[in-house]
Assembly symmetry: C2
Homo-oligomer: 175 residues x 2
DNA sequence: ATGAAATTGAGAATTGATCGCATCTGTAGA
DNA sequence: TCTACAGATGCGATCAATTCTCAATTTCAT
């Protein structure tokens, strides 16, 4: 009776890896700044390791895929980056991604949603899903860059404190 | 004096691979249906082979990257798919992608663009770029599927006449 | 024409992600 | 509670897309 309803309803067995992964995303849901909300498979892997739980990467990929299919998680893929997942709890939203520090902010705009539906309808297009991401500098990075221009956007140095992976275009440097 | 201004202005040397790749995208610009407009590195590779021009894949990836940096081409990355490129000639636009046949339609909506700018401004976000893609069934596929439901969305059979790659989620079957 | 600098091509290497399979483990039913 | 077995895991192999390495070739300013 400790089995979370998300798992029960999905038909997936309540295994340790699944329970822990679900819990991880649920805890991260309201992690305030710099979205630990959005985690890649590797992010999850490392988080679990920190909790002294060794789960095979393959398992993590599998579970993330199953959770996404079950609508427990949402899979997001920002421009050239690895896939990240977030818990599917809050309302639908789109994202603003800082290309400097990697921070992900969420937003929702009714007007945009409505225009999308209208445009699709006009073309006889049956809308299933959509993905809208704005890329640029978050307030903090814009401010900092104004102070010492030139240093910014090299990205390399900044990729350290990038939460779930790295800034866009910064495709190297992991592990 | 045959050197296209795109190359001249980019500072890139006018080599055969570059000339041919540029020409390919320029010719494809107005290819009417089912975007040959959007081509992956492999697509380009195959097209050049058809013209009896063997260019190493590595070179194609390099040139595409350079062209994207020079704003000659635009790199697009639809959900789980490989990167595709299109010539950066026409006005800015976003995309509707058919998840069944892979067709890519383009659209532009002033209202959406304006909302995006407004939302970014409200959050102190310096907008650099954005990506909006609508996923669903194009008119043709929606009509066909209504005729013989169930058959659709298996995707596999359809991936053949998919122009630049394959339908979304159909990550296998290439070469 | 000449040489420094840029570019290419072939293959090796990386990276993110998936697969195959032998071994475990939840969980429904006895 | 016990048990059988479908389902799940973990490991390593594998895959696909992309990038890197480096020697050989080509471009272009002089």
């Amino acid at each position: 009776m400790e089995i979370p309803k998300e798992l029960r309803e999905s038909g997936l067995k309540a295994t340790l890896p699944r329970l822990k992964i679900l819990e991880l995303f649920q805890r991260a849901e309201h992690s305030a700044p710099n979205g630990t909300r959005h985690m890649s498979a590797e992010d999850v892997y490392r988080h679990l390791l920190n909790e002294n739980l060794e789960v095979g990467l393959a398992t993590i990929y599998r579970v993330l895929m199953q959770f996404a299919e079950a609508k427990i998680l949402l899979r997001r893929q920002f421009d050239g980056e690895r896939a990240v997942f977030e818990i599917n709890a809050s309302e639908h939203h789109d994202h603003m991604v800082c290309v400097s520090c990697g921070k992900v902010e969420e937003f929702f705009d009714k007007a945009i949603e409505e225009r999308q539906m209208l445009l699709a309808r006009q073309r006889g297009f049956t809308l299933r899903d959509h993905s809208l991401s704005l890329y640029g500098l978050c307030q903090d990075c814009a401010t900092r860059d104004r102070g010492s221009p030139g240093a910014a956007l090299s990205g390399a140095m900044l990729s350290q404190h990038s939460p779930s992976g790295s800034a866009r275009l910064n495709l190297k440097s992991h592990k």
